[in-house]
Amino acid sequence: MHPTDRQIGDHIDRPFAKQFDRPIQLLDITKRFKAAQDGEGEITILEDVDLCIARGESTAIIGKSGSGKSTLLHIAGGLDSPTSGKVLCNGVDFATLDDKRRSSLRNLHIGFIFQANLLLEDFTALENVMAPAMIAGRTARDCRPRALSLLERLGLGDRTHHLPSQLSGGEKQRIAICRALMNEPDVIMADEPTGALDEENAQEVERLLLDLVKEEGRSLLLVTHNNDFAYRCDNVYLLKNHALSLEKGLGLDV
């Protein structure tokens, strides 16, 4: 473990620090939306979905647009609530936590990367990368070395003090990857991380993401409609008709 990461553990109240072999488990997840705002009908997106993310493995979810891939990722990351079922993050059910503990769980154990990079526009590249660690309670001085090291590893050493508006799409996405890795989370959740990039940048980001996740020993939950990218992961699931089917790898029983 990187020394600064040990500091994170020492520095903050890490309520869910126990290492689980399956950092994310989705049990019997069903998600339904109301058909219209005032309508009585419901649309089923996910039905009795089970999924386990194993530690250190990469898992991709593929499927057609509108099949519910992003919804599944949002639920897995504790951003959205399932209509029924449980989401366990390191064995802790998101539904049992208040806002503060749910936020803390997300901050320490999950890193997000989205198609739109979702960086803080008023913050420099370095500040964006440091943000999750500072939210976790570390001072800027403490978390600066790791943030700089991540930026350096992703070829952004000369962009640390640039604002997102001064960076290209590929550079922004690389900053988002650094930010996702900053707190050494158990799982990186990426939703179409290369969807908005040109082919050259997309391939570069794919390579960096997969390499870094492997190097850092993190799990990856990738949602994409890019089959080439997906099949570079250890496990591939197809989301179709509200359910998952294993397309590649061994998968894990819940």
Binding site: H11, L79, S103, E121, F123, M134, I135, G137
Partner: protein, 400 residues
């Protein structure tokens, strides 16, 4: 969480960043400063003017305490409590000049009546005059102007006798001095003559009184001074002693009402300013919907988001208050000499105001309105920031 870090580092960092990046917050700072400055200025002027007018009444008209119908001789006082006890003989008279008439309180005072304390409240103009058999009178500049007389001129005093059996009698006196206290309202009612001469004009025992000036440390404890006087002077009863405000009930009540009205107006302005601050906070949240959603996405709790926005707005409010107080005090001191100059011009429209007063900062009142503004804006901002609870990371995806 690090025990030494009371506020999360990111909360502090984001709060500071907002203050320096958001023009809206800097606008809020300027507005609060511009609200506070006139409020402080108004407070300084109203309280200083009221204190100034009160002093004019106390030092020139009534004293802190007045003992009715008692001759000065033999009044025993505690030197620590009482600075001066002056025997005065006074009564009302009509003053006639060749062109006008005025009704005045004629105060007969001894030569040591105008001690250092009183001379700090009034200035006298005199010139060397030819000896005369006529008794002298000191008129105020306002009265002299009204009567069209100056030093050396003669005026007639028509004394209304205390005894109904005696008919009113005019006496001629010579204007030997003209005084000016800066408060024409009081000046135009007063005149001074020699006390022994006044005894011949006002013979009733009720015309005599003793004006007592109390040491500063006992001004708020006049009851103690009264009790001491009663204790030390046999035969002196409580009902013979009145305080200046009992003696000038209407003036005192006007002051109290004025202070209350000013306070009400200030509170209304403060409520408006606090409401504005909360609307700035609301607008800031509206502007920051996306950053807040992102911050929550990467693990910021709602309480931290709220605290961060609260620190930004509150810091700006405090800075605005401090800046406003500084500006208000600066303007207060700067305008003092201007008003003093206006006072010396003797403008008729300003005759009801005391313009020549010592600017004294009413720290208690300034602190009170600052705390009120701080508490009200803090509460309204905190309530307004409750909106952040409704901002979730999912907003990022539903609005994309």
């Amino acid at each position: 969480m690090n025990g030494s870090a009371v506020v999360n580092p990111f909360v502090k960092f984001w709060s500071a960043k907002r203050i320096f990046k958001k023009g809206r917050l800097l606008g809020c700072l300027v507005l609060i400063a511009f609200v506070m400055a006139p409020l402080v200025c108004a407070l300084i002027f109203s309280e200083s003017m009221i204190a100034g007018i009160t002093n004019k009444y106390i030092y020139l008209s009534d004293g802190h305490l007045q003992i009715q119908g008692v001759a000065y001789d033999g009044l025993v006082t505690d030197d620590a409590m009482v600075l001066h006890a002056d025997s005065v003989v006074s009564g009302y008279a009509l003053v006639y000049s060749s062109s006008s008439t005025s009704s005045l309180l004629v105060k007969g005072v001894s030569s040591d009546y105008f001690n250092e304390s009183r001379l700090s409240q009034v200035s006298f103009e005199t010139t060397d005059l030819e000896p005369s058999n006529l008794k002298g009178i000191a008129l105020s500049r306002a009265t002299a102007s009204k009567l069209g007389v100056s030093i050396g001129d003669r005026v007639a005093l028509m004394i209304v006798p205390d005894d109904a059996s005696r008919s009113p009698r005019p006496v001629l006196v010579r204007v030997e001095a003209i005084f000016h206290s800066g408060y024409d309202q009081l000046d135009s009612m007063l005149s001074f003559v020699d006390r022994e001469y006044a005894r011949t004009l006002f013979t009733s025992s009720s015309s005599a009184s003793v004006e007592v000036l109390v040491d500063d440390t006992y001004i708020e404890r006049l009851d103690d001074v009264i009790a001491d006087l009663v204790l030390k002077n046999e035969g002196l009863s409580l009902r013979e002693i009145s305080t200046w405000n009992e003696h000038n009930v209407s003036v005192y009540n006007n002051f109290v009402t004025s202070k209350q009205m000013i306070l009400i107006i200030l509170l209304i302005v403060i409520i408006v300013a606090a409401f504005y601050t909360s609307s700035v906070a609301q607008q800031m949240i509206q502007d920051d919907m996306k950053p807040i959603s992102i911050a929550k996405l990467i693990g910021m709790a709602d309480s931290q988001v709220r605290l961060s926005a609260f620190i930004s707005v509150s810091s700006v409010t405090v800075a605005g208050i401090v800046l406003g107080i500084g500006l208000g005090i600066g303007i207060g001191y700067g305008l003092g000499p201007v008003l003093s100059a206006l006072s010396n011009k003797g403008l008729q429209s300003l005759s009801f105001y005391l313009l020549d007063f010592v600017v004294d900062i009413p720290w208690k009142s300034v602190l009170l309105i600052s705390v009120c503004l701080m508490v009200l804006s803090t509460a309204s901002v905190w309530i307004a920031l409750g909106k952040t609870r409704r901002i979730t990371p999912m907003r990022l995806f539903t609005s994309l």
